[in-house]
Symmetry: C2
Subunit: 346 residues, 2 copies
Amino acid sequence: MSKITPVILCGGSGTRLWPRSRASKPKPFLPLVGEQTLFEATVARSGDTATFAPPLVVTGVKHLDHVEAQLAGAQGATIIVEPSARNTAAAIALAALRLDPLDIMLVCPSDHHIADGAAFTHAASVAAALAAEDWLVSFGIEAVTPETGFGYLRRGEAIGTNGGFRVAQFVEKPDAVRAQAFLDSGEYAWNGGIFAFRAGAFLAELEAHRPAISTAAREAAAKGHAEGQRFHPDADAFARIESESVDYAVMENTSRAAMVPADMGWSDIGNWQALHDARACDADGNSIAGRAELIGCKNVLVDSDGPRVSVIGLDDVIIVVDGDEVLVTTAAGAQLVGKLSGAVNQ
Amino acid sequence: MSKITPVILCGGSGTRLWPRSRASKPKPFLPLVGEQTLFEATVARSGDTATFAPPLVVTGVKHLDHVEAQLAGAQGATIIVEPSARNTAAAIALAALRLDPLDIMLVCPSDHHIADGAAFTHAASVAAALAAEDWLVSFGIEAVTPETGFGYLRRGEAIGTNGGFRVAQFVEKPDAVRAQAFLDSGEYAWNGGIFAFRAGAFLAELEAHRPAISTAAREAAAKGHAEGQRFHPDADAFARIESESVDYAVMENTSRAAMVPADMGWSDIGNWQALHDARACDADGNSIAGRAELIGCKNVLVDSDGPRVSVIGLDDVIIVVDGDEVLVTTAAGAQLVGKLSGAVNQ
């Protein structure tokens, strides 16, 4: 089997982890868990050259500097520079058009955390084997809580011999009652936005289900130009691509949708509480980055870029100091951070 | 009756309102309630020249710059510069020795807040009338909560015709059960450390009950020297004065102890929660100084010297930003602020 090409998607508006994450330096480019940034960790995760080809990164022009700086160690990496934001169907289509039709793509968001790299590698190899048989494969992330913020995959019949399944159903974000029922049934996994397929297989399905996107994407690729490690799609053609998710445009429509279960300590780090969950904590559940002193606190996250933070008597609270902004929120309130005027008016 | 001389005591270590209050600029010199500092408000409160003589301030050398800067508008003010810290008996003795024995002193701490200035002025005039009859008068602050952090005065028989009483008993800080009993009985008032007496009467009682303090204080005054508006007691003699509170040295021993009730919106601003209580709040009990945005918060105090503070979902929490320090505490935890290493190791 040929090597797998990691296709790393870099976007993000930087509101839910504000004020650490800002429009000018969003989530993928921050060292949120451990010393690497989420982007660097994503690149490193598929850095084994025995298994993986050099990565192909898709990003917007405004994040290009961060991407190039943080790609420094990745030999042979290339970058597709999106002239505008057109969602994941467009990004993946452009990547597929830069590869050989037989190449296997492993599409990875760059703003997720995966604690268990070996489990990721195993799932990637299972997915790649199915992709080689022209399945379009989603990672089915083991659901551990009744999340209402994710789409779900319902497991269908087994395929292959390594633990793959057909996808019986793609489910949009459920309400709390349905999410709990999904969790209880054991038949559902989270759709984490990680995919594997042959470039040609993806493009064929895109052509079948979204011919307009396919045509515009082909034109954007054909009229684009390379410049060193960068590839610039044609801006006019790219702008005509309808903004759709890959799930909606392709995965939910193809008859060849498959999934591989992935139990790998995954988190989308979707808000400060999710980040707290992903970070190492002491026996009281407290996690400190920067200078802090805590008295009588439990499950408190402190993340300060400079000032010392002194905290007394609080439970389940998140405190973030970043330059001229201080955020203090309950764990439950972390979902509302993106609505703060500081986050909105960046 | 001669005019009343305000004797304003300035000390404070700046730990309980840390990080806003620091050793280098403690509580009296900060604009904690309204636009004036507590010290400026104390001076202004007895600024009516029809009733009051110019103030006599007693302070340590390390706060002299703050005192002189903030006394700017007080005509004829004088300052006793303590060469070391020797508690209130020493401070008041030195002040008394700089006055005529018949002068009436009104001793006022400079780190308290008094919301009702007219009630203060009325209590001061009642106290001065009793002092003119050689009573040693304490303000009996109307007790409104079962505080365990204050001393109490038990009301004795009425004296004079303006609402003064003998003090039946001085009570040290009680436990919670006794404090509640005091409050329920209606016979007890808080000892707020505000006193009125003739200089000569005070010195006579000091001589009777603490002859060693009296002797050392007289020597410190006699060997001291004036320098413009400042008076410097002799450092060696001053250092020999035993460090005692005026309550312990004089008020609890004299047979001429009186009290005047004072219901004047008093607070010692003894911690951040007390400051929150003294500040203006919105309908949700929130109080903001500096830039802040609150979502779903009740009874939250924000006090920031620069950075914007965004708060979500918290009740009964205090957030203070001061330079390189951020404090986040529950209302109940506010009592522990002085134990934080930031407050201790200033």
